[in-house]
Symmetry: C2
Subunit: 177 residues, 2 copies
């Protein structure tokens, strides 16, 4: 199979957290052309964080997409030209006040290569200490909660943690995949 | 923590595969208001399929978001009022010509509750037979490939399978989470 021919992405609409782009794609199979929708977001970081007692540091917050309070790993968008690890350290501290000197990568995925251009970078932070500074923007309200590993396994089983990228981050941690 | 107050979602723009909606949200913490972006897609299904020899049935296809040929689980959008399991059976057959009589749920996630409204439903199909009918639309080109479980574990480790929802589906299958 060969890559398809896409025209350069053109901006249709710029929203706050994404740009809606279009590209005209030619199918090598049928030679038909069609416009494909593309959603361009910043890439994201997602942090599995453990405190010094080995408890998992998770965040509760209101999410408008699901109109619910969620339980998630600390996460956020990578700023322009920011290093992914630096973004992970910043997001963990801003959301939870925890910091760590022990970071490792848990891998990278394409969020949704069918319609999105961005990646999600997963990190593990061990032996986190609550010695940093919370930094919420006016429209952010995040509560930090500590859970044992067994409690998190049950939250996953019961689908109480259900943001796809938080689930993936925690499964990577638990299973070593 | 309490749910935030959101005004009813209003359509800003309708693309082919999503609607861009806006809601005005009031923070109970600061009482400030701001518009939040919402991306509304159909919910999706994602199928881990095994043939009668226990090989995993995966699909190769061109993806415009990443401009690459990907290796993924069979997947697609649920039609209006379609049952998720019916959608899973339909997508598996349309993309691979395989069908199965042995289906089970591997759970449901919110794709991204921060900005998206939809869910992804995961299914496992065992003992699939290649006795169905491929049904590509003009802009679809999907190749079916069979992989052993060990080969798929290596593809996951090496991040050759990197669509977040395919990775999650396969990890659910391998780990029983």
């Amino acid at each position: 199979m060969q890559k398809w021919n896409c025209t350069p992405f053109v901006e249709v609409f710029r929203a706050k957290v994404f740009r809606y782009l279009k590209t005209t794609v030619t199918s090598p199979r049928t030679l038909e052309k069609a416009d494909f929708d593309i959603i361009q977001c910043a890439s994201w970081v997602n942090v599995v964080a453990l405190d010094e007692a080995g408890k998992l540091i998770l965040v509760h917050q209101y999410r408008a997409g699901s109109d619910s309070i969620t339980i998630e790993t600390a996460a956020g968008a990578i700023n322009y030209k920011e290093d992914p690890l630096a973004a992970a350290k910043r997001e963990l501290e801003e959301e939870t006040a925890y910091t760590s000197n022990e970071w490792e990568s848990l891998g990278i995925v394409d969020v949704n290569p069918a319609i999105m251009t961005n990646q999600c970078y997963f990190f593990l932070a061990r032996n986190c200490k609550r010695n940093g500074t919370l930094n919420f923007d006016p429209m952010e309200e995040v509560e930090t909660h500590l859970y044992s590993k067994d409690e998190v396994r049950i939250l996953l089983k019961n689908q109480k943690i259900n943001h796809s990228l938080s689930v993936l981050a925690l499964m990577k941690f638990f299973t070593g995949f």
